[in-house]
């Protein structure tokens, strides 16, 4: 049968850790969700990985294939994904798609440390990021309501604000119980495919997970809640958040942290922030809010010393 010959695609690059682990996974997973530029797949281990189109950007648990997009290939959620050493085959009826990983370039998702910066550097960076966010970001999530917003958006924005205040106060106080409440107040809250609260948590948790962070006590709280209460939010959000707890994040976030770590010029930092803001609808803004809040806290918690 002509149509059963799989269409071969090459994985051009990907999360180096994932590429290493991939060979050990055999068996059947399934397609979790299909977007134009990204297809998410549940592995036989039950973890979620992303198959991105070329140029969709590097991210943890993500492989970039040599396609411009995934449209028109018949991919649907629920289709089988067969994992074998060196390949993943998506069982599209009639014309399966096989991705091979041989020769794929590895990309490291690990973040740098911002622990050793001179006093004030983190706060300066946070100021710049917040200004950029206020100027170019999208409202409706952590940035506050859009002008003329209706009652629902207003209520969501209020709840997000409440959650943020609760969580930041808890981190300042170093109170794990309160942190738990704060995280729960944000997890799964807000508009968008990845709820705004999750995006904020991702940015914040990433800073907390950096080597030498003064707010490291947030990380176990996030990890515990993510595994104990997975039903609180979407699979995609959860996967991203857990990666952030391992100090791993998508390239746009890491670029910002690297620039902060090297005290780069404001122009460079501004450009990197714009790249992050371009992600999703409000996602970029919400993540950037979390990142800036994290940097500011980092400064604050070290400040008086």
């Amino acid at each position: 049968m002509r149509h059963c010959e799989p269409i071969g695609l090459r994985v051009e690059s990907g999360d180096a850790g994932l590429l290493r682990r991939l060979d050990a996974w055999r068996g059947e997973g399934r397609v979790h969700s299909v977007f134009t530029r990204v297809v998410n797949v549940l592995t036989p281990r039950g973890t979620l990985i992303a198959l991105a189109a070329r140029g969709a950007g590097h991210a943890p648990r993500t492989l970039a294939a040599d396609v411009t997009d995934w449209a028109g290939r018949g991919l649907l959620a629920g289709q089988a994904a067969v994992f074998a050493p060196g390949s993943i085959t998506l069982a599209v009826p009639g014309r399966p798609v096989r991705l091979t990983t041989a020769g794929a370039r590895g990309w490291s998702a690990a973040a740098p440390s911002v622990a050793g910066l001179r006093p004030g550097a983190r706060a300066t960076a946070a100021d710049l990021l917040d200004r950029c966010n206020a100027e170019h970001g999208v409202r409706g999530g952590m940035l506050g309501a859009t002008p003329g917003a209706g009652p629902m958006e207003a209520a969501i924005v209020r709840a997000l604000h409440h959650g943020r205040t609760l969580l930041l106060d808890a981190i300042r106080a170093g109170d794990a119980g309160l942190m738990r409440q704060g995280v729960l107040a944000l997890l799964g809250l807000g508009p968008g495919l990845t709820p705004a609260g999750d995006d904020f948590l991702t940015g914040l948790c990433l800073v907390a997970a950096l080597p030498g962070s003064a707010q490291a006590s947030l990380v176990p709280v996030v990890r515990d809640l993510a595994s104990a209460r997975p039903e609180r939010t979407t699979d995609l959000s959860l996967a991203t958040l857990l990666e952030a707890a391992d100090a791993r994040a998508r390239a746009e976030l890491l670029d910002i942290l690297r620039l902060v770590a090297h005290t780069a010029a404001p122009g460079e930092l501004h450009a990197a922030a714009r790249a992050l803001l371009a992600i999703g609808h409000t996602s970029g803004s919400d993540t950037l809010s979390g990142l800036a809040a994290g940097l500011r806290l980092e400064e604050e918690l070290r400040g008086p010393l």
């Binding site: 449209a71 018949g74 649907l76």
Partner: protein, 478 residues
Amino acid sequence: MSTPETPSAASLFAADLSVVNVGLAMFDRDIAAQGAAVTTLDWTPPGGGSAEAVRALDALDAPEVAARIEAANAEAVERITTARPVLVGYGRALDVVPGMTPTTILHSGPPITWERMAGAMRGAVTGALVFEGLAKDLDEAADLAASGAITFAPCHEHDCVGSMAGVTSASMYMHVVRNETHGNTAFTNLSEQMAKILRMGANDQSVIDRLNWMRDVLGPMLKEALEIGGPIDLRLMLSQAVHMGDECHNRNNAGTLLLAQALSPSLLQTSFTTAQKKEVFDFIAGSDYFSGPTWMAMAKAALDAAHGIENSTIVTTMARNGVEFGIRVSGLPGRWFTGPAQKVVGPMFAGYKPEDSGLDIGDSAITETYGFGGFAMSAAPAIVALVGGTVQEAMGYTRDMGEITTTQNPNVTIPALDFQGLPTGIDVRKVLDTGILPVINTAIAHKEAGIGMIGAGITHPPVEAFTHAAGALADALT
């Protein structure tokens, strides 16, 4: 077994299915859900569903008729694209425009009587009669206009085009543009710059004073300057202006700069006083619109060369008088096909509301007939506000116009579209067949006489004009 002499439809089985869906959107969803590519058309029935349009299109589709039309249209667009209009001089209408008399008033659009004229045109006519000294004030001018002593005629029927009301009287100075390729000449008067001007229907003393100055200083100085500097190749200059971000109808920043650059050395050498020269330079600097009329005459010179080709369905004129929108078609010389003038939609000057707007008016749609103006929106991203906002939409306008035109003009190209040529040669059949109406960028005049320009925007011709033209073509060609 596929027969050897014909290609086999079985080749479809080896390709990825990519469907163009026409008519029922629900199929789009089902096809997409199965993973095939699908493009659903934004489809409208031909001629807006008019039976007359469908009958005419069917008649014009007969293979023998269609072959004659194709050949005639090829010649028509060849003439439009190869025309090389050159600005050869300036002169008083009475001296240069064929058939002009001291009591003739030319106006924009299809023929219209004084009684039916729109407010802006009436304002311009009475102002012009005062300017010519034929009436002592506006009231007397109105009586004179109604008396039958004044000859009214469309600009287009005197080798002219007129912006907005298009009102042209004997003493006004005109551009003289000769088509070097085909030998015909076209005329249009000078930009009055500003918003409160005769062509927009304003007619108070400041307007008359300016017209006097234009007659006594600006016109003669331009005439002398061109005699000193020699002719200017307008097609070349238009193409440069388009590369610099003008669509040369509503945006003329680059074109005015280029034209002023070409004229300046000669203007300095004219016999006028330094004070007068400064007045002229100030006047030119006063508005980016200075070169607007120049491009209209350029387009008119090219399109007149394509008028009167037997069997051609190419539109050679689109013009409005504020009451009716008229088109003329190459294969039916001398005839106007009309429908009601439409509203213009776009941003208004502060203090004015849409209900203050007069209907679409002016011969300036000659620019779209040639292929720039609204057709070249993709060249002028700076003014996309006129079309509601995005550069993508502007690109869409030019692409849509490609669907109703016959060829691309290799001499005037659009950088953002990989130097694709202007969409050229509006075909009456394609307009009806696709349901896509030409898009026209234009100014908005106040509906009352005496006020002037109050905004700018886009509009479309009424489909009836094309339906009537197609009907007449079907009668003439079959």
